[in-house]
Amino acid sequence: MTDLIDQWAGIAPGSKLDLLRAKRPQARASAQESYRLLLHPDQPGEFSLEDRHAVAAFVAGLHEEPETRAHYEALPGAGARLEAIRAAVAAGAAQGPYGAYPEGPLSAENLDGPEFAVPAEVAAALGAKLSRGLEHAHLLTFHPRDADPAALQRLLDAGWTPDSIVGLSQLVSFLAFQIRAVIGLRALAAA
Protein backbone atom coordinates (compact mmCIF):
# COMPACT_ATOMS: atom_id res chain seq x y z
CA MET A 1 0.00 0.00 0.00
CA THR A 2 1.17 3.51 -0.79
CA ASP A 3 2.49 5.38 2.22
CA LEU A 4 0.51 8.60 2.04
CA ILE A 5 2.89 10.67 4.15
CA ASP A 6 5.79 9.79 1.84
CA GLN A 7 3.69 10.36 -1.25
CA TRP A 8 2.54 13.82 -0.16
CA ALA A 9 5.96 14.81 1.11
CA GLY A 10 7.57 13.76 -2.19
CA ILE A 11 9.78 11.02 -0.72
CA ALA A 12 10.88 8.89 -3.66
CA PRO A 13 11.59 5.16 -3.15
CA GLY A 14 15.32 4.65 -2.67
CA SER A 15 15.97 8.31 -1.84
CA LYS A 16 17.99 9.29 1.22
CA LEU A 17 14.88 10.21 3.20
CA ASP A 18 13.18 6.95 2.19
CA LEU A 19 16.12 5.08 3.72
CA LEU A 20 16.04 7.23 6.84
CA ARG A 21 12.31 6.67 7.29
CA ALA A 22 12.98 2.94 6.98
CA LYS A 23 14.90 3.18 10.29
CA ARG A 24 11.54 3.79 12.02
CA PRO A 25 9.54 1.00 10.31
CA GLN A 26 6.92 0.64 13.02
CA ALA A 27 6.19 4.38 13.09
CA ARG A 28 5.89 4.45 9.32
CA ALA A 29 3.59 1.43 9.09
CA SER A 30 1.49 2.38 12.11
CA ALA A 31 0.90 5.93 10.88
CA GLN A 32 -0.43 4.52 7.62
CA GLU A 33 -2.43 1.89 9.53
CA SER A 34 -3.95 4.67 11.65
CA TYR A 35 -5.11 6.35 8.47
CA ARG A 36 -6.74 3.12 7.30
CA LEU A 37 -8.42 2.42 10.64
CA LEU A 38 -9.75 5.95 11.10
CA LEU A 39 -10.77 6.79 7.50
CA HIS A 40 -11.53 3.41 5.97
CA PRO A 41 -12.35 1.04 8.85
CA ASP A 42 -13.87 -2.36 8.07
CA GLN A 43 -16.36 -1.75 10.86
CA PRO A 44 -17.02 1.98 11.22
CA GLY A 45 -19.39 1.45 14.15
CA GLU A 46 -21.44 4.45 15.21
CA PHE A 47 -19.14 6.91 13.39
CA SER A 48 -20.08 6.37 9.75
CA LEU A 49 -17.57 6.36 6.91
CA GLU A 50 -19.34 9.33 5.35
CA ASP A 51 -19.04 11.39 8.51
CA ARG A 52 -15.39 10.39 9.00
CA HIS A 53 -14.62 11.67 5.50
CA ALA A 54 -16.55 14.89 6.05
CA VAL A 55 -14.75 15.62 9.33
CA ALA A 56 -11.38 14.87 7.70
CA ALA A 57 -12.04 17.19 4.76
CA PHE A 58 -13.06 19.93 7.21
CA VAL A 59 -9.97 19.46 9.41
CA ALA A 60 -7.61 19.27 6.41
CA GLY A 61 -9.20 22.47 5.08
CA LEU A 62 -8.51 24.24 8.37
CA HIS A 63 -4.82 23.26 8.11
CA GLU A 64 -4.58 24.93 4.67
CA GLU A 65 -2.20 22.30 3.32
CA PRO A 66 -3.30 21.82 -0.31
CA GLU A 67 -2.32 18.20 -1.03
CA THR A 68 -3.80 16.66 2.06
CA ARG A 69 -6.87 18.83 1.65
CA ALA A 70 -7.37 17.61 -1.94
CA HIS A 71 -7.10 13.99 -0.82
CA TYR A 72 -9.64 14.29 1.97
CA GLU A 73 -12.05 16.34 -0.14
CA ALA A 74 -12.00 13.56 -2.75
CA LEU A 75 -13.11 10.84 -0.31
CA PRO A 76 -16.70 9.80 -1.09
CA GLY A 77 -18.31 11.05 2.14
CA ALA A 78 -16.75 14.47 1.64
CA GLY A 79 -17.11 14.83 -2.12
CA ALA A 80 -20.86 14.34 -1.89
CA ARG A 81 -21.29 17.47 0.24
CA LEU A 82 -18.22 19.47 -0.61
CA GLU A 83 -19.96 22.80 -0.92
CA ALA A 84 -21.20 22.66 2.67
CA ILE A 85 -17.82 21.46 3.99
CA ARG A 86 -15.95 24.23 2.20
CA ALA A 87 -18.40 26.79 3.56
CA ALA A 88 -17.68 25.44 7.04
CA VAL A 89 -13.92 25.70 6.43
CA ALA A 90 -14.26 29.28 5.20
CA ALA A 91 -16.30 30.20 8.28
CA GLY A 92 -13.87 28.41 10.61
CA ALA A 93 -10.53 29.75 9.35
CA ALA A 94 -8.32 30.82 12.28
CA GLN A 95 -4.75 30.80 13.65
CA GLY A 96 -3.96 28.42 16.48
CA PRO A 97 -3.22 27.40 19.09
CA TYR A 98 -5.17 29.83 21.26
CA GLY A 99 -7.27 29.38 24.37
CA ALA A 100 -7.40 29.88 28.12
CA TYR A 101 -5.54 28.25 31.02
CA PRO A 102 -7.01 27.41 34.42
CA GLU A 103 -7.21 30.70 36.32
CA GLY A 104 -3.83 31.38 37.89
CA PRO A 105 -0.26 32.27 36.91
CA LEU A 106 -0.78 31.13 33.30
CA SER A 107 -3.81 33.38 32.76
CA ALA A 108 -1.43 36.05 31.45
CA GLU A 109 -0.78 33.70 28.51
CA ASN A 110 -4.45 33.32 27.57
CA LEU A 111 -5.03 34.01 23.89
CA ASP A 112 -8.41 34.94 22.48
CA GLY A 113 -9.75 33.31 19.36
CA PRO A 114 -13.03 32.42 17.74
CA GLU A 115 -15.55 29.95 19.11
CA PHE A 116 -16.76 28.24 15.95
CA ALA A 117 -20.43 27.63 15.24
CA VAL A 118 -21.44 25.90 12.01
CA PRO A 119 -23.36 28.44 9.88
CA ALA A 120 -27.09 27.73 9.69
CA GLU A 121 -27.14 26.92 5.97
CA VAL A 122 -24.25 24.46 6.44
CA ALA A 123 -25.98 22.84 9.41
CA ALA A 124 -29.08 22.42 7.27
CA ALA A 125 -27.02 20.51 4.70
CA LEU A 126 -24.95 18.40 7.11
CA GLY A 127 -27.43 17.72 9.91
CA ALA A 128 -27.19 18.48 13.61
CA LYS A 129 -25.00 15.55 14.66
CA LEU A 130 -22.25 16.04 12.08
CA SER A 131 -22.38 19.81 12.58
CA ARG A 132 -21.72 19.31 16.28
CA GLY A 133 -18.84 17.02 15.33
CA LEU A 134 -17.32 19.76 13.14
CA GLU A 135 -17.59 22.25 15.99
CA HIS A 136 -15.69 19.83 18.20
CA ALA A 137 -13.12 19.25 15.46
CA HIS A 138 -12.54 23.01 15.27
CA LEU A 139 -12.00 23.17 19.04
CA LEU A 140 -9.44 20.36 18.89
CA THR A 141 -7.68 21.78 15.85
CA PHE A 142 -7.28 25.39 17.00
CA HIS A 143 -7.79 25.67 20.75
CA PRO A 144 -7.60 22.27 22.42
CA ARG A 145 -6.76 23.80 25.81
CA ASP A 146 -10.30 25.23 25.89
CA ALA A 147 -11.75 21.70 25.85
CA ASP A 148 -14.02 20.97 28.81
CA PRO A 149 -16.68 18.45 29.87
CA ALA A 150 -19.40 20.71 28.45
CA ALA A 151 -17.94 20.22 24.96
CA LEU A 152 -18.29 16.45 25.32
CA GLN A 153 -21.79 16.84 26.77
CA ARG A 154 -22.82 18.79 23.66
CA LEU A 155 -21.63 15.85 21.53
CA LEU A 156 -23.53 13.35 23.69
CA ASP A 157 -26.66 15.50 23.45
CA ALA A 158 -26.34 15.53 19.65
CA GLY A 159 -26.31 11.73 19.48
CA TRP A 160 -22.60 10.92 19.72
CA THR A 161 -21.77 8.00 22.03
CA PRO A 162 -18.65 7.60 24.20
CA ASP A 163 -17.20 5.15 21.65
CA SER A 164 -17.83 7.43 18.69
CA ILE A 165 -16.47 10.46 20.60
CA VAL A 166 -13.23 8.53 21.11
CA GLY A 167 -13.22 7.77 17.37
CA LEU A 168 -13.87 11.41 16.46
CA SER A 169 -11.14 12.61 18.85
CA GLN A 170 -8.65 10.09 17.44
CA LEU A 171 -9.47 11.11 13.86
CA VAL A 172 -9.04 14.85 14.41
CA SER A 173 -5.91 14.38 16.52
CA PHE A 174 -4.37 11.92 14.05
CA LEU A 175 -4.87 14.42 11.22
CA ALA A 176 -3.06 17.07 13.28
CA PHE A 177 -0.13 14.63 13.32
CA GLN A 178 -0.30 13.38 9.74
CA ILE A 179 -0.52 16.82 8.13
CA ARG A 180 2.42 18.08 10.22
CA ALA A 181 4.49 15.01 9.36
CA VAL A 182 3.92 15.80 5.67
CA ILE A 183 4.84 19.48 6.09
CA GLY A 184 7.99 18.66 8.07
CA LEU A 185 9.20 15.90 5.78
CA ARG A 186 8.53 17.92 2.66
CA ALA A 187 10.56 20.83 4.02
CA LEU A 188 13.42 18.46 4.82
CA ALA A 189 13.24 16.82 1.39
CA ALA A 190 13.34 20.24 -0.31
CA ALA A 191 16.24 21.63 1.74
Binding site: L20, R21, L62, L156, V166, F174, A176, I183, G184, L185
Partner: protein, 202 residues
Protein backbone atom coordinates in the same frame (compact mmCIF):
# COMPACT_ATOMS: atom_id res chain seq x y z
CA UNK B 1 -32.30 5.74 24.24
CA UNK B 2 -30.66 7.24 27.29
CA UNK B 3 -28.05 9.83 26.60
CA UNK B 4 -24.86 9.33 28.57
CA UNK B 5 -23.58 12.16 30.72
CA UNK B 6 -20.04 13.33 31.21
CA UNK B 7 -18.15 12.75 34.43
CA UNK B 8 -17.47 15.95 36.37
CA UNK B 9 -14.72 16.38 38.96
CA UNK B 10 -15.90 19.39 40.97
CA UNK B 11 -13.50 18.72 43.85
CA UNK B 12 -10.41 18.42 41.67
CA UNK B 13 -7.78 21.05 42.46
CA UNK B 14 -6.61 21.27 38.83
CA UNK B 15 -2.89 22.08 38.49
CA UNK B 16 -2.52 25.69 37.34
CA UNK B 17 1.11 25.79 36.25
CA UNK B 18 3.56 23.68 34.22
CA UNK B 19 5.48 21.27 36.41
CA UNK B 20 7.77 18.23 36.27
CA UNK B 21 5.86 16.61 39.12
CA UNK B 22 3.94 13.39 38.52
CA UNK B 23 0.34 14.48 37.91
CA UNK B 24 -2.75 12.31 37.68
CA UNK B 25 -5.53 12.52 35.09
CA UNK B 26 -9.28 12.13 35.44
CA UNK B 27 -11.51 11.22 32.47
CA UNK B 28 -14.70 13.05 31.40
CA UNK B 29 -16.15 9.94 29.74
CA UNK B 30 -16.31 6.49 31.33
CA UNK B 31 -13.25 4.36 30.59
CA UNK B 32 -13.84 0.66 30.09
CA UNK B 33 -13.74 -1.21 33.40
CA UNK B 34 -10.70 -3.43 33.86
CA UNK B 35 -13.07 -6.40 34.26
CA UNK B 36 -14.60 -5.67 30.82
CA UNK B 37 -11.29 -5.85 28.95
CA UNK B 38 -10.95 -8.66 26.44
CA UNK B 39 -7.92 -9.86 24.50
CA UNK B 40 -8.87 -7.39 21.74
CA UNK B 41 -8.62 -4.53 24.22
CA UNK B 42 -5.33 -5.77 25.62
CA UNK B 43 -3.92 -5.83 22.10
CA UNK B 44 -5.00 -2.21 21.78
CA UNK B 45 -3.25 -1.32 25.02
CA UNK B 46 -0.03 -2.95 23.71
CA UNK B 47 1.44 -2.96 27.25
CA UNK B 48 -0.85 -4.86 29.61
CA UNK B 49 0.19 -2.57 32.48
CA UNK B 50 -1.64 0.28 30.73
CA UNK B 51 -4.92 -1.35 31.87
CA UNK B 52 -4.34 0.56 35.13
CA UNK B 53 -4.56 3.91 33.33
CA UNK B 54 -8.02 5.51 32.90
CA UNK B 55 -6.70 7.42 29.88
CA UNK B 56 -5.71 4.26 28.01
CA UNK B 57 -8.86 2.39 29.12
CA UNK B 58 -10.92 5.23 27.66
CA UNK B 59 -9.02 5.14 24.37
CA UNK B 60 -9.47 1.34 24.42
CA UNK B 61 -13.07 1.99 23.34
CA UNK B 62 -11.43 2.06 19.88
CA UNK B 63 -8.79 -0.63 20.49
CA UNK B 64 -7.35 -0.96 16.99
CA UNK B 65 -6.89 2.81 16.62
CA UNK B 66 -5.27 2.88 20.06
CA UNK B 67 -2.85 0.10 19.10
CA UNK B 68 -1.77 1.89 15.92
CA UNK B 69 -1.37 5.17 17.85
CA UNK B 70 0.74 3.47 20.52
CA UNK B 71 3.03 1.73 18.01
CA UNK B 72 3.60 5.02 16.21
CA UNK B 73 4.45 6.68 19.53
CA UNK B 74 6.85 3.96 20.70
CA UNK B 75 8.89 3.82 17.52
CA UNK B 76 9.23 7.60 17.31
CA UNK B 77 10.33 7.96 20.93
CA UNK B 78 11.95 4.68 21.97
CA UNK B 79 13.67 3.36 18.85
CA UNK B 80 17.23 4.40 19.59
CA UNK B 81 18.81 3.08 16.42
CA UNK B 82 20.42 6.33 15.29
CA UNK B 83 18.63 9.62 15.10
CA UNK B 84 17.96 12.25 17.72
CA UNK B 85 19.08 11.57 21.32
CA UNK B 86 16.18 10.51 23.55
CA UNK B 87 16.47 13.71 25.60
CA UNK B 88 15.89 15.91 22.56
CA UNK B 89 12.90 13.88 21.35
CA UNK B 90 11.40 14.46 24.79
CA UNK B 91 12.38 18.12 24.56
CA UNK B 92 10.39 18.42 21.32
CA UNK B 93 7.40 16.73 22.99
CA UNK B 94 7.70 19.15 25.92
CA UNK B 95 7.90 22.21 23.67
CA UNK B 96 4.83 21.16 21.68
CA UNK B 97 2.91 20.48 24.89
CA UNK B 98 3.97 23.89 26.26
CA UNK B 99 2.67 25.64 23.12
CA UNK B 100 -0.61 23.75 22.97
CA UNK B 101 -1.05 24.16 26.72
CA UNK B 102 -1.18 20.52 27.79
CA UNK B 103 -0.05 20.71 31.42
CA UNK B 104 -0.33 16.95 31.88
CA UNK B 105 1.63 15.99 28.73
CA UNK B 106 4.28 18.60 29.47
CA UNK B 107 4.76 17.23 32.99
CA UNK B 108 5.46 13.69 31.77
CA UNK B 109 7.78 14.62 28.92
CA UNK B 110 9.61 17.38 30.77
CA UNK B 111 10.41 14.77 33.40
CA UNK B 112 11.70 12.41 30.70
CA UNK B 113 13.71 15.21 29.04
CA UNK B 114 15.26 16.10 32.40
CA UNK B 115 16.03 12.46 33.16
CA UNK B 116 17.79 11.79 29.86
CA UNK B 117 19.61 15.13 29.65
CA UNK B 118 20.42 15.57 33.37
CA UNK B 119 19.44 19.21 32.81
CA UNK B 120 16.33 19.51 34.96
CA UNK B 121 16.84 23.23 35.64
CA UNK B 122 17.00 24.09 31.93
CA UNK B 123 13.92 21.99 31.25
CA UNK B 124 12.14 23.82 34.06
CA UNK B 125 13.03 27.15 32.45
CA UNK B 126 11.28 26.00 29.28
CA UNK B 127 8.19 25.21 31.38
CA UNK B 128 8.35 28.46 33.38
CA UNK B 129 9.27 30.92 30.66
CA UNK B 130 7.73 29.14 27.71
CA UNK B 131 9.30 28.21 24.38
CA UNK B 132 10.98 31.60 24.01
CA UNK B 133 13.37 30.64 26.84
CA UNK B 134 16.94 30.61 25.52
CA UNK B 135 18.88 27.53 26.64
CA UNK B 136 21.56 26.68 24.09
CA UNK B 137 21.65 26.86 20.29
CA UNK B 138 20.79 23.20 19.78
CA UNK B 139 17.88 23.03 22.23
CA UNK B 140 16.61 26.42 21.06
CA UNK B 141 16.54 25.19 17.45
CA UNK B 142 14.63 22.03 18.40
CA UNK B 143 12.11 24.01 20.49
CA UNK B 144 11.66 26.63 17.75
CA UNK B 145 11.08 23.96 15.10
CA UNK B 146 8.58 22.16 17.35
CA UNK B 147 6.79 25.47 17.94
CA UNK B 148 6.58 26.38 14.25
CA UNK B 149 5.22 22.94 13.36
CA UNK B 150 2.61 23.22 16.12
CA UNK B 151 0.96 26.36 14.73
CA UNK B 152 -2.25 25.83 12.76
CA UNK B 153 -1.81 26.43 9.88
CA UNK B 154 1.78 25.28 10.29
CA UNK B 155 4.54 27.85 10.10
CA UNK B 156 7.28 25.23 9.54
CA UNK B 157 9.53 25.41 6.50
CA UNK B 158 12.98 26.00 5.08
CA UNK B 159 13.98 28.43 7.84
CA UNK B 160 13.43 25.82 10.55
CA UNK B 161 15.36 23.15 8.61
CA UNK B 162 18.25 25.61 8.10
CA UNK B 163 18.29 26.50 11.81
CA UNK B 164 18.30 22.83 12.83
CA UNK B 165 21.19 22.12 10.48
CA UNK B 166 23.08 25.18 11.69
CA UNK B 167 22.67 23.85 15.24
CA UNK B 168 24.37 20.63 14.14
CA UNK B 169 21.44 18.27 13.54
CA UNK B 170 21.88 15.67 10.82
CA UNK B 171 18.95 14.70 8.62
CA UNK B 172 18.11 11.56 10.64
CA UNK B 173 17.94 13.75 13.74
CA UNK B 174 15.73 16.31 12.01
CA UNK B 175 13.43 13.50 10.92
CA UNK B 176 13.03 12.40 14.54
CA UNK B 177 12.43 16.00 15.65
CA UNK B 178 9.70 16.39 13.03
CA UNK B 179 7.96 13.16 14.00
CA UNK B 180 8.26 13.74 17.74
CA UNK B 181 6.75 17.21 17.29
CA UNK B 182 4.03 16.03 14.91
CA UNK B 183 3.14 13.15 17.23
CA UNK B 184 2.62 15.41 20.22
CA UNK B 185 0.09 17.37 18.24
CA UNK B 186 -1.84 14.10 18.23
CA UNK B 187 -1.24 13.23 21.89
CA UNK B 188 -1.95 16.71 23.32
CA UNK B 189 -5.36 16.89 21.66
CA UNK B 190 -6.51 13.58 23.14
CA UNK B 191 -5.19 14.33 26.61
CA UNK B 192 -6.63 17.87 26.68
CA UNK B 193 -10.07 17.01 25.36
CA UNK B 194 -11.02 13.77 27.12
CA UNK B 195 -10.21 14.62 30.74
CA UNK B 196 -8.29 16.87 33.11
CA UNK B 197 -5.05 16.73 35.11
CA UNK B 198 -5.17 16.14 38.84
CA UNK B 199 -2.63 17.15 41.52
CA UNK B 200 0.52 15.13 42.24
CA UNK B 201 -0.09 12.07 44.38
CA UNK B 202 1.92 12.79 47.53
Amino acid sequence: MTIATVILHPDNAEPKAFTQEELGWAPWLPPLEEAELTERHYEGLVDRSRAKSPYFRLLAREPEALAARTRTDKDIFYNTEGGLPRAERELAATAVSRVNGCIFCASVHARFAAHHSKRGAEVQRLLDEGVSARIDPRWDAVAAAATALTRTPSAFGAAEIAALRAAGLADDEILDAVFASAFFNWANRLMLSLGEPTPPVK
